[in-house]
């Protein structure tokens, strides 16, 4: 019985935790620019994420070690500095966009500029981490995150042409604006396969004291959670394809996004949109802040747990404190949140090989995984997708400039 609840909660966490500022914005841009043509990228990203998240859970359940632990232990300190520095920078950018997302949601209902919301939002997020536990962050915020299912409801409400939507699930070459097309494809991959989720998930498995008996749960929650989560992003993409594309609207501001749901669901659409944006980004902000602390603590061997009072893991607690404080600054300075989102997603995709390729080495190490090492299918598929995302991302930096974002 308790296992069933655990599975249900895991799936809910996957669904509720999938959508955040990056996946919402990139899905909306893709739908507005290319109607349903880029659905395949969302599906590819969600599939790859499911594989990777399953691996991280398996690593922690079997070895009781997290991904950063293993990166440091297996590759040594000098190598570890590379993913450490790269990931902290990526997470800082993504954290700023998430805080910006919450602040924008508050601006939409209050009329007070998002800049001034950055500090209260940062403080609230910090206070919840400071006083809360891992379960509160993982489960609590994710359950509320189910509100993002509104995008699926909205999409269904508009009666999309299902044949055309299904055709979008198959990759094909763009008919126009090739640069923009590939740029969005990379952004979607970067937004779906967020590297911070690997660290968060593997730390979670250790926080929740997983063991071999959790492998089945791990597989189900990774597959179903990320799968259903991907459907939320597809919902947002389909909505944009139906609302923005025919009107010739390109998404270049978060202010346009509530129109996705008001067109489908009227006043409730507006309420649900603001709630989705606010809650999803807030949840992601908490996960990213705590993950940045996990990465430090596990890489340097400090005592860590989100379940301990801050006095018992001072370095860990101060890590997420500092991270949240620094991430507030760009928002407070009034940075264009959507531009920051787009850049972060491409940088995130570019950083994938730095983390995922070493992770694959570890996933084949019998010292860590005993008889539960990766099979060749998982190895090949994930290597291919990650290299593809990495190469596309590096190529798309010029597109970012040429296409103006």
């Amino acid at each position: 019985m308790s296992r069933l609840i655990e599975i249900a909660l895991g799936i809910v966490t996957g669904i509720g935790g999938f959508l955040e500022a990056g996946s919402l914005a990139t899905a909306a841009q893709a739908g507005a620019g290319f109607r349903f043509e880029l659905i395949w990228a969302v599906i590819l990203g969600a599939t790859c994420l499911a594989f990777l998240v399953e691996m991280c859970g398996r690593l922690s359940a079997i070895s009781k070690h997290t991904v950063p632990d293993a990166l440091r232990e297996r590759f040594g300190f000098r190598f570890f500095m590379v993913p450490l520095v790269v990931m902290q920078l990526v997470m800082l950018m993504v954290l700023a966009t998430e805080l910006g997302g919450v602040a924008l949601a508050l601006q939409m209902i209050s009329g007070v500029s998002y800049r001034w919301w950055s500090v209260p939002v940062g403080l609230l997020s910090w206070a919840l981490l400071w006083k809360g536990t891992f379960g509160l962050i993982e489960k609590g915020v994710s359950v509320l995150g189910l509100v993002t299912l509104a995008f699926v409801v909205g999409a269904l409400h508009l009666h999309p042409p299902f044949g055309e939507v299904a055709r979008g699930a198959l990759p094909r070459l763009p008919a126009h604006d090739g640069a923009q097309y590939w740029f969005l494809a990379v952004s979607i991959l970067g937004a779906s396969i967020s590297p911070y989720l690997f660290f968060f998930y593997s730390a979670g498995a250790v926080e929740d004291r997983w063991d071999v008996s959790h492998l089945a749960i791990n597989r189900i929650t990774a597959g179903a959670g990320m799968g259903f989560g991907g459907i939320v992003a597809v919902g947002a993409l389909v909505l944009a394809g139906m609302v923005f594309h025919p009107a010739g609207i390109k998404v270049d501001s978060y202010q346009q996004l509530p129109l996705l749901l008001t067109s489908a669901l009227g006043h409730w659409g507006f309420v649900l949109f603001v709630a989705s944006l606010g809650i999803a980004c807030f949840g992601a902000a908490q996960e990213i802040a705590v993950t940045s602390a996990y990465l430090m603590a596990q890489g340097f061997g400090w005592r860590w747990s989100e379940n301990l009072p801050p006095a018992e893991d001072a370095r860990f607690s101060l890590s997420y404190t500092a991270m949240t404080a620094v991430a507030c600054l760009p928002v407070l300075a009034g940075v264009d949140v959507l531009k920051l989102t787009n850049i972060s997603m491409v940088v995130s995709a570019a950083s994938l090989p730095v983390v995922v390729l070493p992770l694959l080495v570890i996933m084949n190490d019998r010292r860590y995984l005993r008889d539960y090492c990766n099979g060749w299918v998982a190895n090949t598929a994930v290597t291919a997708i990650v290299l593809l995302a990495g190469v596309l991302a590096v190529v798309s930096f010029p597109l970012l400039i040429a296409g103006g974002g």
């Binding site: 040594g76 790269v86 939409m108 010739g248 129109l259 067109s263 491409v346 570019a350 950083s351 400039i401």
Partner: protein, 141 residues
């Protein structure tokens, strides 16, 4: 392990800096900018419609249209139009100024709950936006 390979983001950043220095206005970019401005005008129309139907609250709608008007004004002063023939550039500038003004007026109409006024401005904004995207730009080099 000694990693001598430049990490991917670093390579990307180098490329980024290298490419940022060669961003000169071209007709292609001007056409993109024209489409973006038309898209902004269409968005303002949609926001106003959502407000009028009661779907979107006034606070949001006025803030959003205000921002969109500012972005239209900003587009008017962008250097990208210098790549176009003078007559085309003049037509676009004129169109952008009208759009910017109408969007700003739409913002205050929403602020003052002036529904008939907002509807009039919306219709005109929609029409002017369509006119903007119809201005021909020759992108063949």
């Amino acid at each position: 392990m000694r990693s001598r390979l430049l990490p991917a983001p670093l390579t990307g950043a180098t490329l980024l800096i290298g490419l940022a220095s060669c961003g000169r206005p071209t007709p292609r970019k001007a056409a993109d900018a024209r489409d973006r401005a038309a898209s902004t005008a269409a968005s303002a129309v949609m926001v106003a419609a959502a407000w009028d139907s009661g779907a979107a609250p006034g606070i949001y709608a006025s803030h959003a249209t205000g921002e969109m008007s500012a972005s239209l004004w900003k587009a008017d002063s962008a250097p990208v139009w210098s790549a176009l023939p003078d007559s085309t550039a003049a037509a676009i500038h004129a169109s952008l100024r009208v759009l910017g003004t109408r969007a700003a007026k739409l913002d205050s109409a929403i602020d003052q709950e002036d529904r008939p006024g907002a509807t009039r401005l919306r219709t005109s904004l929609e029409q002017r936006g369509r006119e903007l995207s119809a201005i021909p730009i020759d992108t063949t080099p």
